[in-house]
Symmetry: C2
Subunit: 347 residues, 2 copies
């Protein structure tokens, strides 16, 4: 009887130990969210091809503890261009659409704009004419609409704009003209311990107003072009004023500079879509160890746009040649992406 | 016999279920590290007083879910000055000691320094004479030693210096002349979901070379003064060159500017020690909700130094008046801190 009970106890104890371990592992898996992330396809909007396989292989390699490509969590830095890489950039940079809408809104306070280009053309609805002035015209539109207010006031204006403005072709908020396949890459990287950064020629404070909500990227991980700001103590308290002076252009050779200034580490993963991203990719590629370098190629006129070597916006020429020569990943929007944009949030 | 076995099985099963739960909770506690952090005194080097109580109360209030002072984890931003707040700044800023050591090391390549101030005085061992030239002399010493190399080369030089240089009074590495009570504050904040940042007038790249090891603060959370850097493509690959041009001075009114540029959110907690931190504290204080504003007062000539309103280094005058008027926390090094520095790492 004693012996029999001992035997029963032993058997139960073994199963009991197994059950205890299972419970512990279940809690561990739930807390770490490891098991579910690996079980499903983390990139469902990507067709099975070289690009998708390269992304998945890089993440698997860099997170495989003890493996030759392992990257410690603190060094898992991934940088993404924004315009043309995370969201669309046609028929014009979305921030320029914002500036044009601001010119229209501010026109009553600026009667002189009726006689002055590029404002005159904007107010006549002739955007093409306004932009015929090239970079200087664009700079004028930005300078007339971005400074002269506090950083908090600017943020509020951007928030209101993204909540109401609609993309002319897709008739949905600009913040929904983001690439679903890239949202999945961001999420997959973060689920594997990567810090995801935006490194964009666009305005840092323009992007920070919505990047956390749209991409899950917090303001401190948004690197972009900046204007000078000035601290002022007012009777109502301190403010930071946006001055009409460019401080930093986070484009081309400015991208590695911005990365070094803000992150202070070299990325192991970088994704862009144009020659403006070439130096970021070169800087990333030049580090030791496993690397992922990616370029989105806009070759899908039907679902989005097709443009590359001769485009005024998002020109992809030299960076493309370098990508081919160095075996970086070039994503064909047409062939690699099952869908372009996320489902619409409204009917 | 069957009944008896059933009874035994039931008893074991109950204990087994309890054991499984215990195992699960143990794993959960280990993974979240919550229980141990709350159980012990998180600030053992602080005497029980108003300053310690204010820090603990702030953390408890801001992390109390559902409470009136609750701050969501994403917004738990804490900023710390470095010189005089996290580590000592006497008899001179440690980065200046670095510049002086570099002048000595580089002297063979600069025979002209023998006839030129402030270098001549430095090389004659007359640091006081060298610094008699004030800010311009200091700027010359920095300009002669900090630029003209890649960011990677500079980092290596700083790493080598902190590994070998010794503080003249305490005869231990400068990186051990850090304040043990403040290390505990950093750790307590991080254990409660805060992101800890350095916001210092010191050089960002100088601090980044050791801040992670010494404070647990990663490079991307180190905000400081910067020089211009330039991307260059060399035959051996891309480099970032440090140019002889100041880009940004992260001091006084520059601190809120730097905070906005790098973090893009207003801190809820800020700690400094001098008038150079006043605007950072004002900017932090002006936000809505629970706030902690702290100043370290150096009033301990025996264990460290005593200086405030009339000091050339770390002058604490106007910020002190504002702290008293607004009920910010002023820490008395003498009365609030049981110990100043951590135990020595070497005999």
């Amino acid at each position: 009887m004693v012996a029999a009970n001992e035997e029963v106890r032993d058997g139960v104890r073994k199963r009991c130990a197994a059950a205890g371990m299972a419970a512990a592992l279940l809690v561990a898996a739930t807390l770490l969210s490891v098991a579910p992330a690996r079980a499903a396809d983390p990139l469902p909007s990507w067709n099975d091809g070289a690009a998708k396989r390269a992304i998945l292989a890089f993440v698997a390699e860099t997170t495989s503890n003890g493996g030759p490509g392992f990257v410690p969590p603190a060094e898992r830095v991934a940088t993404f261009d924004n315009d043309g890489t995370l969201w669309a950039e046609q028929p014009m940079y979305f921030q320029l659409a914002f500036a044009i809408d601001r010119v229209k809104a501010l026109a009553p306070e600026h009667p002189e704009w009726k006689q002055k280009q590029p404002f005159k053309a904007v107010l006549a609805g002739d955007v093409k004419g306004a932009l015929a002035g090239g970079e200087p015209a664009i700079a004028q539109l930005i300078a007339a609409t971005h400074p002269g207010m506090t950083v908090d006031e600017f943020r509020k204006i951007v928030e209101d704009w993204v909540a109401t403005a609609r993309h002319p072709r897709f008739n949905r908020p600009y913040t929904e003209c983001v690439y679903q396949p890239m949202l999945e890459v961001l999420a997959h990287l973060r689920a594997n311990g990567f810090k995801t950064y935006i490194v964009s020629g666009g305005g840092a404070e323009f992007m920070r107003a919505w990047a956390e909500k749209v991409y899950g990227i917090p303001p401190e991980q948004v690197i972009g072009s900046t204007g000078v700001t000035q601290f002022e103590m007012r009777p109502t308290g301190p403010v930071l004023m946006r001055e009409p002076k460019v401080e930093f252009v986070d484009d081309k050779a400015g991208k590695p500079v911005g990365i070094n200034r803000f992150i202070g580490r070299r990325p192991v993963f970088a994704f862009g879509n144009s020659d403006g991203d070439q130096q970021m990719l070169e800087w990333t590629a030049a580090g030791k160890g496993a690397r992922f370098l990616g370029l989105v190629h806009h070759d899908d006129a039907e679902r989005e746009w097709a443009y590359d070597r001769t485009s005024n916006i998002g020109k992809l020429d030299k960076a493309w040649d370098e990508a081919v020569a160095k075996n970086w990943t070039v994503v064909s929007m047409k062939d690699d992406w099952k869908t372009i944009f996320p489902p619409a949030s409204e009917p």
